[in-house]
């Protein structure tokens, strides 16, 4: 039986209206800037002698403005978790700068680093794994307040109740004394979000916040995050591999491959007119429910993402790219080009 191969084309995409109000990306004063960040992990052979480095993040730069939402899209092993951990202050960068509200973070003292961490909320991927099983909701939400030095008990109680109302865990009394295992997946994720919000952060890092949830709950949580983001004018770094949820949430998308950001653009532009061959492949692999899907094979790049210890010379995607130009792509790493305003792509096709 002959099955046609479906190629991805720009025509297949229709307009998106979801993020109309924040369509235009206006550069405002940035909250967080990342300059040429490298996160390398040392590989040791039998405990002594260097065997090289895992170059998880290898030269990433971007600016995150106040109230801006950015999605970092990439497959596992592309370095997005290392990027996230470095931004959360959980892992020191090997080189490069992190500038938060005009202050460099790498030179911070422990106290300053703690202060920096208080300003960033973290929404984990797996809510059940992220919540301590022996603490009830009240204790879970109280802990960050205690650590950050809120001494007054009634004040703590007030803020716990406010955060719980904010994430729609009401009536509050019904949930205060429940333990994580007594909550559904969606409710657990709400507790995680409440915990991330309780110190009134300026920024939220959400690591695949809905990938462990069921379809019907997923949308509810995305909407909640979106409401909170708008109400408090939060900056959000949304890390995901699922392009279909991105447009409901982020103004800009960064596509990450093998430790580098290969394409940066506004959401609508990137989904309607993707440029980098890797982005095209990701979009081609994302399906919408449609019975016709079963009648076509999808055109996908062969092979797998490269090892980050010895990434390929030149463009890191060239061994899998159908449009690779020999003599160029396999020799020299492409710099970032800007073929359209505010649409950056690291690919020689757009020189």
């Amino acid at each position: 039986m002959n099955i046609p191969v479906q190629y991805f084309s720009h025509e297949g995409l229709t307009a998106l209206s979801i993020l109309d109000e924040q369509d235009e990306f206006k550069p405002v004063e940035s909250l967080l800037s990342i300059r040429d960040l490298h996160v390398w992990y040392e590989l040791r052979r039998f405990g002594f002698g260097r065997a090289g480095h895992v170059k998880a993040v290898d030269g990433v730069s971007f600016e995150l403005a106040h109230g801006e939402t950015i999605a970092v899209v990439g497959e596992s092993g592309c370095g997005k978790s290392s990027l996230m951990k470095t931004i959360l202050g959980l892992h020191p960068p090997t080189s490069g700068e992190l500038i938060f509200e005009g202050e460099k973070i790498s030179i911070f003292s422990d106290a300053a680093l703690q202060e920096y961490r208080f300003g960033i909320g973290y929404v984990q991927q797996d809510p059940y794994g992220a919540l301590p099983p022996f603490m009830n909701v009240e204790k879970i939400l109280e802990e960050p307040l205690v650590i950050s030095g809120v001494k007054d008990r009634t004040e703590r109680d007030r803020r716990i109740r406010r955060a719980m109302t904010e994430v729609k865990l009401h009536p509050v009394e019904d949930f205060l004394h429940k333990f994580p295992h007594m909550l559904s997946g969606g409710q657990q994720q709400r507790v995680v979000i409440a915990r991330a919000m309780i110190l009134d952060p300026k920024m939220i890092v959400a690591d695949e916040p809905v990938s462990m949830l069921d379809a019907s709950v997923r949308v509810e949580i995305l909407k909640l995050l979106h409401t909170l983001q708008e109400r408090y004018h939060l900056s959000v770094l949304y890390i995901t591999h699922d392009l279909s949820t991105v447009k409901y949430f982020s103004a800009r998308i960064f596509v990450m491959y093998a430790g580098l950001l290969v394409e940066k653009a506004e959401t609508r532009k990137l989904l309607e007119h993707p440029l980098h061959p890797y982005t095209l492949a990701l979009l081609a692999a994302t399906s919408d429910p449609d019975a016709r899907n079963s009648e076509v094979y999808r055109e996908l790049p062969s092979g797998e993402p490269p090892s980050l210890v010895n990434p390929p010379k030149g463009c890191r995607f060239h061994p899998r790219c159908s449009r690779a130009m020999s003599g160029l792509c396999d020799k020299e790493a492409p710099p970032e080009f800007e073929p359209e305003p505010n649409h950056f792509v690291a690919c020689w096709l757009y020189e």
């Binding site: 995409l13 069921d214 699922d242």
Partner: protein
């Protein structure tokens, strides 16, 4: 196009209840469906609706706390529920029906090479010697797209996508007519996932294998589905051909579930379903979805029978 295909599997009133210290969990409660040769049915449902229990019930891989296990599972003309456990093991499991369990790629034996472990079912169930079995393995590896020199490798030397292919090859090695896939792509990356779906499509066309695909990922499921069955709280609430179902689901739950899928190529705002699925310990009388259903009326306090509409069936009073 969809002429009544030769029947491969016919399930009637399949029930699997578990005994727990707090009561009886009605994980699978009266499931019926049919599957033709060379067809793929997708069983869609949210977590806790009994999907995995259904796969266990089909393959009779039961835990010890079973309270009730009954119904009819007619595979290629024989009711396999009548067989003793030993007969089932020797003549059904792997031989005519095999399973790719959830997270199969992490269930490979770390101390055996992948070639040897894929060969094992062929040696046990088909009585082949090691050389012949490895010959079959190398053929199956070709079908699922694993290079032949991977036979000598250990699971830790393979990537997630490759290990998933190994698990698939293991289910294929005895050439069963039916493979049950439990969330085969949920832990994989986007491109790997699309690749595995390509492999499954190819197997369906080249080897004529039928599939039961159990998943909660609606978008990906449409890559393989010929038929769709929607499961809610232990019961199948709607079945139909994929061509009819995806554009126009009929049961209110299926409609809301489909509306909750974020879509890349459309600008409709996805919806969510209020409330939570009922506990399977004490499911509500009448329609189990009634409490969350915007269309409920008096009739819904009685259990709806299955209504037929052409080749679709809906368990909902609205379609009486």
């Amino acid at each position: 196009m969809t002429a009544p295909a030769q029947s491969l599997l016919h399930i009637e009133d399949l029930v699997l209840h578990f005994k727990t210290s707090r009561g009886v969990v009605q994980a699978v409660d009266g499931v019926d469906f049919d599957l033709g040769v060379k067809r793929a049915v997708v069983i869609l449902g949210e977590s806790g609706c009994g999907k995995t229990s259904l796969s266990r019930a089909l393959l009779r891989l039961l835990p010890r706390n079973v309270e009730k296990y009954s119904g009819k599972v007619v595979l290629q003309g024989t009711d396999v529920m009548e067989l003793s456990d030993e007969e089932y093991r020797t003549s059904v499991r792997w031989v005519s029906m095999s399973l790719v369990p959830q997270a199969a790629m992490n269930s490979l034996n770390p101390v055996l090479t992948v070639g040897d472990q894929v060969a094992e079912p062929a040696m046990v169930h088909l009585g082949l010697n090691r050389e012949d079995a490895l010959g079959v393995v190398s053929k199956m590896f070709k079908h699922v797209g694993i290079p032949n020199d991977f036979m000598e490798r250990y699971p830790f030397e393979l990537s997630g996508g490759m290990r998933q292919r190994v698990a698939l090859a293991m289910a294929l090695v005895t050439s069963p007519g039916l493979i049950v896939l439990d969330e085969p792509t949920s832990a994989l990356d986007l491109l790997t996932q699309a690749n595995i779906m390509n492999v499954l499509k190819r197997l369906k066309h080249e080897l004529g294998t039928s599939f039961i695909l159990i998943t909660h990922d609606i978008a990906t499921s449409s890559e393989l589905a010929d038929e769709v069955a929607i499961m809610y709280a232990g019961q199948i609430v709607e079945t139909g051909c994929a061509r009819d179902f995806f554009p126009a689901p009929l049961h209110p739950y299926s409609q809301m579930l489909m509306a909750s899928v974020p879509r890349l190529h459309s600008d409709t705002d996805p919806m969510f379903i209020l409330g939570q699925p009922p506990s399977l310990m004490n499911p509500p009388k009448g329609c189990r979805f009634a409490a969350r259903c915007p269309f409920r009326f008096e009739k819904c306090s009685e259990e709806p029978p299955v209504f037929r509409k052409g080749n679709r069936s809906i368990k909902c009073w609205l379609h009486a």
